[in-house]
């Protein structure tokens, strides 16, 4: 058995923007998956909003993701068959909300990510950057308090990547969201308040945003 994470002890305060950087296989995505409840730890504990998640059932994790967490993926993971606006509305609909307010909320999110003009397009008709904007809008549509971003610039060029990171920061700050970013891009990590460097499943160092980051 491979131990993906060991001795990882950290606390994030509401509204903080924290990035985790490190080489491939260092455990940063595993950490994010554990926080999202997509994977379960063999030992240790994750506490969300002061509540231990140790004995949560699958459905309780679903409810937490539905209400508290938004996730942005490297590969966008938009639903191919749905339009941009339907993808954004999806988390709300999964909660059973789909009235006029939902439509308004989707409209707002489209505007905030600058994609109103592409609302009827399907993922295959959008560029990588545009798809990631829709994915961000989808992650924030239901107003989560925790935004998890897994390599959000990994599948797009550096120019679009910078735009995506500033969009995440801008939306998170205005929405008061706590952001946990996982990336191997130092440029992307610049958007965070502080950066944890990871190696071989351990937290190696913490660097504040004001400090110049060096390659780990």
């Amino acid at each position: 058995m491979v131990t993906a994470l060991r001795d990882v002890n950290l606390e994030m305060k509401p509204g903080e923007f924290c990035a985790f950087v490190g080489p491939s296989g260092c455990g940063k995505s595993t950490l994010l998956n554990l926080v999202a409840g997509l994977d379960l730890p063999t030992s240790g504990e994750i506490v969300l909003d002061g509540r231990s998640t140790r004995n949560l059932t699958g459905y309780e994790w679903t409810k937490i993701r539905r209400e508290t967490i938004g996730i942005v993926f490297q590969a966008f993971h938009l639903v191919h068959g749905l339009t941009a606006e339907e993808n954004i509305a999806l988390p709300l609909m999964l909660r059973g909300e789909n009235g006029r307010e939902t439509a308004q909320r989707v409209e707002d999110m489209l505007e905030r990510v600058g994609m109103s003009h592409r609302r009827k397009h399907r993922p295959a008709e959008l560029s990588g950057g545009e798809q990631q904007r829709i994915a961000i809008a989808r992650a924030l549509a239901h107003g989560p308090r925790l935004l998890l971003a897994d390599e959000p610039t990994g599948n797009i060029d550096s120019h679009q990547g910078a735009g995506i990171m500033s969009l995440i920061r801008e939306l998170a700050i205005s929405g008061g969201q706590t952001v946990l970013l996982v990336t191997h891009s130092l440029a992307a990590a610049q958007a965070a308040d502080y950066v944890w460097t990871m190696r071989d499943g351990r937290l190696v160092s913490r660097t504040e945003r004001t400090t110049e980051l060096v390659t780990p």
Binding site: N33, A36, L38, D39, G58, Y59, T62, R65, R66, E67, G70, I71, F73, A75, H77, L78, V79, H80, G81, L82, E85, E86, A89, L90, P91, M93, L94, R95, G96, N98, G99, R100, T102, A103, V106, A124, R138, A139, H142
Partner: protein, 871 residues
């Protein structure tokens, strides 16, 4: 092993390991299709082989048989036959069926052969195991002496000198086991399941003194058998037939040909549906391995070898499915053969239930090989399309990043045009008549109909997925789930079209056959209600066993007419006689009764005019009423004449009327009893229809009849005294039994179609693991994922059911108006059994959802993180 085969084996095993569930599903589908086909074929062969074996065993060295039909022959004929040049020996034969009585109850029916034992003991292929006695020869020919086949003696636990109670016709006879009958060689034969009596004893026992059923001839080896037969035909009276023993098997084969053909074709439906399943599996395999194919092509594999690779994979599935299916089919056939022989005995001629000796006769391996061949061929035909598609893979595009399949467009429009054209062709094919008595164009029309609808399926899959706006609609979570499901289904019109087609074929055949059978049943019910009007029918005690009981068990003495007529409250008694003869090569039932009496009390459903009037006219003009089936086959109608060979010579009969009849598919001639007796010299009666005076108690009359006739049977089983209601029920029971097999075969086809749905949904779920994981990651619950897959199943099911309903409707018309009419000649009044059709649709819908449930559950249980990792 050649290098290519080694590569092939390597790749095949890796693919099977990669997709074990799909492999199992596909093999099970093929196995089910093969099992239905093998079971029906085995049962069909077994039943006829059993008949043939019995015929040939009894025939022994016989080269020609002289027969006088059901009414038998005068034994004096033997003297004339022996004088004819080329006849080496002529032996009298009586062949009758008796029923063993066990504790006062009727048990098993057994064939009794009456032979000149003193002359023939060593010629027929059996030996008699008889205890050594002083008067051994005398013992052999005693009236109650019966020799039992070894197998029968073992089954019944009887040995020499034991007593045996037999029911012969209406009488009961206690016989003595004079010896045990063994086959001469070590092989098993029909003798072991028969009983033998001396001819003189048989004549007494079966009340045939001076008569025999048949005369078996051995002809001179130096003369052509056909020449001797020709001489015999010129010398003997024209109503006597001279034929080779094997001809009887051929006649029976001919008689049941349409019945067997329809059954066989129905058994192929499972294979047809299985073909869709294979297509589906292979199409998925090709799509899944597109990049792999690109690599094969890049490293030097030729186009044809790529195609062969996939064809061989399908062939392997077919081979394994064939092995499993053949074994299952032969096991199923053991049950089927009983049902089939009962049905053939009910409707046509008595046939045994087969010996089931597949292993002994070596047929096991030939059927196994046949099943494997069927499985392989069907699978490879199903895989032709995907294999050709694989061979045409554009190497560069397959190796490039991106979705190869997304860049390919199925020509749904083109397919739809083909579909419509095929439907037009269906209409055209339904017009021509049969070829050699077989509804060739009718079957072609059915195939064209199903192919046409299958071509329309991809268009339906894409066409119905019209975009709707989901955002902002109240309560739209279900709507959006449906939307995702529909959209996804419409993204693969080819694969899903095939699944929908499989369901469509299964359901269309289910509904088509259901409507046909229910319409037929309705028509028979109407016919029974309109024509079976006698209050009580007096019949031989074993009459309800149909032809199984033989001729002796199917007749009553004419003297009972007086007994019955004298019973108080009996208003009228008819004497009904039913014997089989040949008219223009067709086996026909000759029915005789008192037509004037029948005109007064009952009726026939005549095609033209009034029943009573036509019946009276037939009696007055010595004319015939002919059943619709026979009129069509012989090409005669009201007003024409028909020549019939009678024991009194050929007679030209005027045809007074044509009537609807559903009691036999061989056709029926009806004439007045007096006319029949004068020509056939036969006084026996098959049944007595009894009409009770109005207002009298039916139960009381029945009791009186039973009491009076119990005395007349001399200790035998009392005759059956059946009420009108019981008789009608019995007729409909026989009808339902006949079609029981049909339902079994349909069910197999539907199960295979369901496997197709499971197959498609498993494919869909495998392809969409990332999508499902995404939905879970953004807040979707496991329950919602389950619903999504179920919606997709429901969508495909809805299209399949809609097309199946359309196909079923048209198919029922083809079955009733074209195939049935051309194969059997019956006019069936079409009804649509709404309730039954709804049941079939609900069943298909439930089956679809059940088929969708397991992939849905599996999808919902997959770890989210695994799906998100997939690229």
């Amino acid at each position: 092993m050649p290098a290519f085969l080694r590569v092939l084996l390597l790749l095949l095993t890796s693919h099977v390991r990669q997709w074990p569930l799909r492999t199992v599903l596909t093999i099970v589908g093929v196995a089910l299709g093969v099992s239905a086909s093998v079971a029906v074929r085995t049962a069909n062969v077994d039943v006829l082989r059993s008949f043939e074996q019995a015929v040939m065993t009894v025939a022994g060295p016989t080269t020609l048989e002289v027969s006088g039909g059901e009414t038998g022959l005068d034994e004096q004929v033997i003297t004339r036959i022996r004088r004819i040049a080329g006849v080496t020996s002529a032996s009298p034969v009586i062949l009758q069926t008796v029923v063993r009585m066990e504790g006062g109850q009727a048990d098993q029916a057994v064939q009794v052969v009456g032979l000149d034992l003193l002359a023939e003991v060593d010629t027929r292929g059996f030996r008699l195991n008889q205890p050594a006695k002083d008067n051994q020869l005398l013992d052999m020919i005693q009236p109650q002496a019966v020799f039992l086949g070894a197998q029968l003696a073992t089954d019944w636990n009887l040995s020499v000198d034991d007593e045996l109670d037999l029911l012969i016709g209406t009488g009961r006879l206690t016989c003595r086991v004079a010896g045990i009958l063994h086959n001469e060689s070590d092989r098993t034969s029909s003798w072991e399941r028969m009983a033998v009596m001396d001819i003189a004893a048989a004549q007494i026992t079966f009340q045939m003194v001076g008569k025999v059923d048949r005369i078996d001839l051995v002809t001179d080896e130096n003369m052509a058998v056909e020449d001797v037969a020709q001489t015999l035909r010129t010398v003997l009276p024209p109503h006597m037939t001279v034929e080779r023993p094997a001809n009887r098997t051929r006649q029976v084969e001919q008689m049941v040909r349409a019945f067997r053909l329809n059954l066989t074709i129905l058994s192929w439906v499972g294979l047809l549906v299985g073909m869709f399943l294979i297509y589906n599996t292979m199409a998925f395999a090709v799509a899944q391995r597109r990049r792999e194919i690109g690599i094969y092509r890049a490293i030097g594999m030729t186009q044809s070898r790529v195609a062969v690779l996939f064809l061989m994979e399908a062939g392997l599935f077919g081979c394994v499915g064939g092995i499993v299916g053949s074994a299952a089919g032969m096991a199923l056939a053991q049950e089927l053969v009983t049902l089939l022989s009962r049905t053939i005995s009910d409707l046509y001629v008595p046939v045994g239930a087969g010996e089931g000796g597949l292993f002994r006769t070596g047929r096991f391996w030939s059927m196994m090989l046949e099943g494997i061949a069927i499985g392989c061929v069907v699978s490879m035909i199903g895989a032709v399309g995907p294999s050709v598609d694989a061979s045409r893979t554009a190497t560069v595009r397959a190796l490039a990043p991106g979705d190869y399949e997304a860049s390919r467009q199925l020509r749904t429009g083109m397919l739809a045009v083909m579909g419509v054209s095929l439907l037009v062709i269906t209409g055209i094919l339904s017009l021509p008549g049969p070829i050699g008595g077989v509804a060739v164009s009718g079957y072609a029309a059915t195939l064209s109909l199903l192919a046409g609808l299958a071509c329309l399926a991809p268009l339906c899959v894409t066409g119905w997925s019209r975009r709707r706006r989901y955002v902002g609609r109240e309560g739209g979570v279900q709507g959006v789930m449906r939307g995702i499901a529909v959209e996804h289904a419409s993204r693969s019109p080819g694969r899903n079209g095939v699944t929908v087609s499989a369901l469509m074929v299964g359901l269309a055949i289910m509904i088509g056959v259901l409507v046909m059978v229910r319409s037929f049943r309705h028509t028979v019910e109407l016919w029974v209600t309109d024509t079976v009007l006698a209050d009580v029918v007096v019949a031989p005690s074993m009459w309800l066993r149909g032809t199984e009981i033989g001729d002796a068990g199917r007749s009553l003495p004419p003297t009972w007419l007086k007994v019955l007529s004298s019973i108080p409250d009996v208003a009228a008694v008819d004497s009904y006689r039913d014997v089989r003869i040949e008219v223009n090569g067709q086996r026909v039932a000759v029915v005789s009764r008192d037509l004037r009496l029948h005109a007064q009390w009952s009726r026939y459903l005549v095609r033209k005019g009034d029943s009573s009037e036509q019946l009276r006219r037939a009696a007055e003009t010595r004319g015939l009423l002919v059943s619709e089936v026979l009129a069509d086959r012989l090409g005669v109608e009201e007003g024409s004449t028909l020549e019939v060979m009678t024991p009194s010579g050929p007679v030209q009969f005027p045809i007074v009327a044509v009537f609807y009849d559903y009691s036999t598919d061989g056709g029926k001639l009806l004439m007045d009893r007096a006319l029949y007796q004068s020509l056939w010299h036969d006084d026996l009666v098959t049944v007595f229809p009894v009409y009770v005076s109005p207002g009298s108690s039916l139960d009381r009359v029945r009791e009186r009849i039973t009491d009076q006739l119990r005395v007349a049977t001399g200790g035998g089983l009392p005759p059956l005294v059946i009420s009108n209601t019981e008789l009608r029920k019995e007729i409909l029971d026989i009808f339902d039994r006949t079609f029981l097999l049909t339902y079994v075969l349909e069910a197999i086809a539907v199960v295979i179609a369901m496997l197709g749905i499971v197959n498609t949904l498993v494919t869909s779920v495998l392809e969409r693991r990332r999508e499902f994981s995404t939905l879970r990651a953004i807040g979707g619950s496991a329950e919602q994922i389950r619903q999504l897959v179920l919606w997709e199943a429901a969508y495909l099911g809805m299209i399949g059911i809609t097309l199946g309903l359309i196909g079923g409707g048209v198919l029922s018309l083809l079955l009733i108006k074209v195939i049935n009419k051309q194969s059997f000649g019956w006019t069936i009044q079409m009804i649509v059994p709404i309730g039954a059709v709804i049941q079939a649709v609900v069943l298909a819908a439930i089956a679809t959802l059940v088929a969708g449930y397991f992939p849905a559950r599996w999808a919902a249980r997959q770890p989210i993180i695994d799906g998100l990792r997939e690229e």
